[in-house]
Symmetry: C2
Subunit: 442 residues, 2 copies
């Protein structure tokens, strides 16, 4: 743990007056305070930002308007864009606003807070909310920081050349599609696409046969940078707003045929799903870890290096993926866990991704999404996609109910989860990132 | 020419009461009527959409408000979003609005129009306008339809394998960065980046040494499609809104080192420049040409084929690139033309790009930008980038003033132009797409 970043809001002894918010039984204790965008389900009210606390949401629109809530003028100024549903405008205010709001919310929701009476009426059960994307995402970039994924998949696509010579020097990334990103609960049709079987003379067009999930973490940019004004490592460290879970659905047969020489395109852009609650970098402070390179690997070039990054650049976010098939759903069986891993195994840190991305002058904007790339663990059973877990579809997974899977079938639901736990601190979580495959267009 | 698409607005005998709008001496005669977004230079007025006519702009905000202009209720409804500077909202209305507005503007600006008196006061000289991006671009995709470019560059990057097996089957494309797209006049710092010389042990980080331009045409999407509801060829043909010129600036040394396996990233996203005037698909109707494949090449798969596409899918937009060095500028010499080509040589049509892009369910949104890819001509002197014209930097270009160039130097200005000419029709043009390289950050 990096004590330098901890303050009173991280005290594990703190409890909330919201009864369901007691660690370790919730992803959202008082020490988390993630932000998301919602409206009451079934209403046509304007979206507003709220804070997840236990099973509830503190509605920041109603909280800002609540008489007797006792917010300071500064806090009211921060709440204004959030009440209007504009998380991007709040992100643009940078770290001081993010940290200041956390302090205010932690105090307001704490057991014994004088604000309890006023705010009690501003809670909405999460079960009664319809969640939206937490912010407007103008640009989406997907990185490739999972070295175990890069190595395993590299072997499948390029047996002679799994990990390319640039991998340990450049945080490899590519641009993704923003329009088709949806929030947890997204259901999408199996994509049609063009692919070519190894033994076929010519390609064909039809429903994807090798549909996959990918386990990623999404980083949301804070204030960002002006064009031509790169973020240094210290600025980048301050700037990232928070994390969500990201399922980078992939059509493997389309990908294999289309991806050279310019990278994945239609194999990825039919849908991408993120979790609704943004866990801020402040909430993640107790789960910072030293960033080190395996012995013999090159050290990052100077523009991607800093003492703070070495001391606490890595993040121990524990991730898992579960699958619920239609048969499980029919039998009221829960989703079955397929794998687990940690973001700590990423080859590049969040600050390195922001710094590299802006190093050429590219402007990052509030709410831009940076995917981590697939976060597989070191063991074969820790593959962050079916492609890895089934060795390219050659070795089917057998599920507990006797079903098998190489790739996803229609009706399959995939559930990503993330959780941070460490001795002496309150555990926090990300909630679920859920997506379901619908049949292809007839 | 495809007579089916022509109507009275294409009559070459039509003239405008705007004196500077007489073909062939302008890019913007009455037969063109491109849309752009502007404000009076030096003002802080809100952006609004205007129509280029000769040397002037018809300000659609003032035109909508002009008493006695005599617009119908339907035309006033179309003008409302344009007066508010929201071209995207107008794009979302689809082909009927695009075509209807063209008819109305053609009639209003025609010699003898009863609207002349009311509209005369709504003109602003282009020289007094500050142009902005014509619309909000949420997503930017760059295709690779220039087969001569793909072949020449393929030889440089992969001598043994220049044109990959998928090229003639899949309209290859990848996602680009929307945030750093600027309008003509954009000046940007030479990017810093990571690259590795062939003889170097390890990569280094510093100012790009192989900075290049790329000549492309940008396609702006019209109404687009909902997620999961692909556009068929007929819909795609109707949907694209219009074209702009696009300079896809490229850092070749960064590109060579970073692009595998996921494609170009920081080599491209520091800046991209488009021309300010959107030439609509209706204005381009007289310049449609049959789309054919060279003998022996495969025909497009059925989802990318249609009789209309075969009959008139290609577009004869004639393109050129000119360079003005600081020495030329100091000597008041104009930019020197470096090459010319035609969009007609593209291997895929605009409708094929929209259809392919949405074929997997990916949603295209109004104003999305699709780059054609670099449009080189078949001859070596028709390379659409310095990379091609100098054989990867090995054979410098000698300019008329005795200077030489392999790649761009600080202060260089690159000017893209586009023009459509054919017998018996009024020639139209795109105006210029201008960009300038500033020195790298110290």
């Amino acid at each position: 743990m990096s004590a330098a970043l901890l303050d009173a809001t991280h005290d594990p002894a703190l409890t909330s007056w919201v009864a369901s918010a007691q660690a370790p039984c919730t992803d959202f204790p008082l020490q988390n305070l993630p932000l998301g965008r919602f409206r009451p389900a079934g209403s046509n009210e304007a979206l507003r930002v709220g804070v997840a606390i236990g099973d509830d949401i503190l509605d920041l629109k109603r909280a800002a308007e609540a008489s007797g809530a006792g917010w300071s003028a500064q806090v009211l100024a921060w709440l204004a864009p959030l009440a209007a549903g504009d998380l991007n405008a709040f992100m643009a205010l940078g770290a001081p606003a993010r940290r200041g709001l956390r302090q205010a919310l932690s105090a307001a929701l704490r057991t014994g807070s004088a604000q309890q009476t006023a705010l009690q009426a501003c809670l909405l059960p999460q079960a009664q909310a319809e969640m939206a994307l937490p912010c407007f995402i103008h640009d989406y970039t997907d990185f490739y920081t999972g070295i175990h994924h890069a190595t395993t998949v590299g072997k499948l696509f390029r047996p002679d050349n799994p990990l390319l010579p640039n991998y340990k020097w450049v945080p490899i990334g590519y641009h993704g599609r923003a329009s088709s990103i949806g929030v947890s609960g997204q259901a999408f049709r199996r994509p049609l696409g063009q692919f070519k079987a190894p033994d076929a003379e010519v390609p064909s067009f039809g429903p994807c046969r090798r549909l996959d999930w990918e386990l990623e973490v999404g980083i949301l940019v804070g204030a960002g940078n002006a064009q031509g004004a790169p973020l240094g490592m210290a600025q980048a460290e301050d700037d990232w707003f928070g994390l969500v879970l990201l399922n980078d659905w992939s059509a493997r047969d389309v990908q294999a045929w289309e991806y050279q020489p310019l990278g994945p395109f239609l194999a990825k852009n039919f849908a991408s799903t993120i979790s609704p609650w943004v866990v801020t970098q402040e909430a993640l402070a107790p789960f910072r870890r030293p960033f080190t390179r395996p012995e013999g690997d090159p050290q990052p070039l100077p523009y991607l290096d800093s003492p703070a990054n070495r001391e606490r650049g890595a993040l121990d976010v524990r991730l898992s993926v579960a699958l619920q098939t239609p048969a499980m759903r029919a039998a009221s069986q829960p989703a079955q866990e397929l794998m687990h891993s940690s973001m700590q195994d990423a080859y590049w840190t969040v600050a390195q991704l922001l710094t590299h991305h802006s190093s050429n002058g590219c402007n990052l904007q509030p709410g831009d999404l940076l995917g981590s790339g697939t976060l597989s663990g070191p063991a074969p059973a820790q593959g962050g996609s079916l492609l890895e877990l089934t060795l390219g579809g050659k070795q089917p997974l057998t599920l507990a109910n006797g079903e098998t899977r190489t790739f996803l079938q229609d009706g399959d639901t995939v559930v990503l989860r993330g959780r941070c736990e460490a001795p002496g601190v309150a555990a926090i979580g990300f909630g679920a990132c859920v997506g379901t495959v619908l049949p292809a267009l007839a």
